[in-house]
Symmetry: C2
Subunit: 416 residues, 2 copies
């Protein structure tokens, strides 16, 4: 089969991760090697960069500097949270996109992101086909939330999970030094799925982690929480709790919304208890128990901590980008690269291709059977699932004590 010749664009979307640039690199390096590809472009801030005709010419980058993307966190070309309209009601964006694709003779489009990005991919792919414009569209998964359907796990998750587990171990050691009793609440990202918060169980599994772990998959009850914390406090004084930012009560309302309603929680002086969920839950525990409390949010650190990225995650992320290009080059379109774990005790994972639409409209949660009955801890099947994903250390080069991250030229195709 004759190869489809033309330019390729790769874009990044949604929240960044420690390894989303590794996926980009896998795709870009394969594209630069391919004789089918005339030009390799990076879209500035994802799909918005395509719409605004803001493209970086990646053929002008130094390959050695580009290679550092493997170990550089965040989204090197910038990201966006832009939702394309339904093309049936408003196709202005799609027409604009088609114009830009034509202008640069773009025949390969790769988009690196989560559910919403796969939805974007799917819509673009359909529109281009309807307009008889030949272009191969492939999605590359990315999310620390690990909530994409049709894939065993997502690039980005392993590194964030490793950061959460590692930090839980360190904070657990720190929080108990005074031996006088304390409640420390750690808040982890994840609005609807608890995969990342659950990674705290890896620290517990090493004897040095949270005593209680609460996930969005199980209804959260404040009375149960206090009773859980009291029980642990009586047994071992210092209580370590990990909560997902997305925990909800039995009505499906976010706990964070409960606490931001200032009328409900006031301290002894009538001051409203505010701040993040971790601080709010810690303050709440403090109103019920005479014990020192502290709330800690891992915040952006959990998704950008490239210095402690999982080598497995880095290589899989790179492999996903590479597989995306190879699929497109071989004539495939309208798919997302996914991971399939091979059966057996030894961890082996291969890339497969799944339909974009199937990913776009689904969200994967932790099976209830992997969570303990009380809903405050994880069971062995989860540990077995997550352990292989955090293996190995990054080869990030250090220069005089600090990381050497990629410093790209980012040369636009036109003056802007």
């Amino acid at each position: 089969m004759e190869k489809l010749k033309g330019a390729c664009i790769i874009g990044q979307s949604g929240g960044p991760s420690a390894v989303i640039n590794a996926s980009v690199l896998g795709c870009v390096e394969a594209a630069l090697r391919s004789d089918a590809i005339t030009k390799v472009y990076g879209a500035a801030h994802g799909i918005t960069g395509v719409l605004d005709d803001r493209l970086y010419d990646l053929t002008l980058e130094d390959p050695e500097e580009l290679a550092k993307l493997r170990y550089t966190p965040s989204a090197a070309f910038g990201s966006c949270r832009y939702k394309l309209a339904d093309p049936l009601s408003d196709d202005a964006d799609y027409q604009r996109l088609l114009d830009v694709f034509k202008k640069y003779d773009v025949r390969y489009f790769f988009y690196n992101g989560g559910n919403d990005s796969m939805d974007t991919c799917s819509k673009i792919s359909a529109f281009l086909a309807q307009n008889d414009y030949v272009c191969r569209v492939i999605g590359i998964p990315k999310t620390i939330d690990n909530d994409l359907a049709m894939t065993d796990h997502c690039p980005g998750y392993g590194s964030a999970a490793k950061y959460v587990a590692l930090s839980c171990m360190e904070v657990t050691l720190d929080s108990k030094v005074y031996g006088k009793g304390s409640v420390t609440v750690l808040e982890v990202m994840g609005r609807n799925a608890g995969w990342l918060t659950a990674a705290a169980a890896l620290a517990t599994d090493r004897g040095c982690g949270p005593d209680l772990i609460y996930l969005p998959e199980v209804h959260f009850d404040l009375a149960d929480f206090i009773s859980d914390v009291r029980r642990v406090h009586e047994r071992k004084k210092d209580v370590m709790v990990a909560v997902s930012e997305g925990i909800k009560d039995k009505n499906g309302d976010y706990l964070s919304a409960y606490f931001s309603d200032a009328s409900k929680t006031r301290d002894a002086f009538g001051h409203a208890q505010m701040g993040g969920l971790a601080a709010s839950l810690a303050s709440f525990a403090n109103t019920r128990m005479d014990v020192k409390v502290r709330g800690i949010e891992f915040s952006l650190l959990q998704r950008c901590a490239a210095h402690t990225a999982s080598a497995t995650d880095i290589e899989e992320a790179y492999g996903a980008g590479k597989a995306a290009f190879e699929a497109a080059e071989s004539g495939i379109s309208d798919k997302m690269v996914a991971f399939e774990r091979e059966p057996g005790a030894e961890y082996k994972c291969k890339t497969v291709l799944v339909d974009l639409v199937e990913v776009a409209n689904a969200e994967k949660k932790i099976p209830r059977s992997w969570i303990n009955e009380a809903g405050n801890g994880l069971l062995q099947p989860f540990i077995d699932y997550v352990s292989p994903l955090i293996q190995g250390e990054t080869q990030l080069a250090m220069q005089e004590g600090l990381p050497q991250f990629a410093n790209l030229k980012r040369i636009m195709t036109r003056e802007v």
Copy 2:
């Protein structure tokens, strides 16, 4: 000279660090090797463990497990924040301490901590001498705050500084991905001295760090802050700010106290703006500018992140503990081990001994001449000072993707 035979106690005090256990190890390994030492004890929770006769017998620990203390964060024997009374008004604690020292024939006492711990050391040393009890007392410095007088720097600071610089680099990359403008405020520990916050300048020096850095050494003014942030925002959209938790206004009042007075800062809906200083400053910026804001506290992570400890700091911390023992063994008492930086371009540092009382009553701040005129950034002399302290990576052993921290037996000398 005949060696003074007897037991030794080592205790840890104040906030833990990534390398306080390395100092303990340096002292303990030297003590275990010495023929002068009959027993080596660790005080559970510092001086309170001595008062309560709660001592760990370290001769019962496996030397290989003990050696892991070099890379294990937090205080392995527990810590305390206990202030001894003035012995002239109340010597009950001192009498109790003397009883315990006599019971175990303690002739060497090592205390690992900050200013307050050196004050404790100094008082104990004076009391023992007045009571003709021969015991050598040596302080080992420790503080991520780096505010001890009479020493070039303190063990613990280099690792915390490295964590702050590294995290600033990663968060800076993350925070600008959307390119739509943002203000991110990072809160760093340090109530009175800005050494640790200033380490954020290392990230700026690498082209990937805070635009504005505010320290307790310079009065903080909210109007100047907003004007600084506006100026940076106009130039580069995304603004990264690092603040010390201890910044104060021109009256010497903590900003954090200002924000916790809920009447002063309300959002558009009349809700009080609360939370940590980072969140408060971010919210405040949000009331003045139409821009996305975020506050991030490094919280405990900055003092316990052993996984990214500075190799220089680890070795110096170990060396300080070893030097403390060697000084005591050679007949010296009533001193603290300090670091003296040798002149010249190449970094060389040696241990010296300084009087405990001189350390106990002083606090070292950043020279004003190392801070820029506007009081919102650091100058080259600070970079030159701090750079050598963050060099080198930890040799912390990893086991299946997570750290292998020391797991001691902690066997008490008596049943408690």
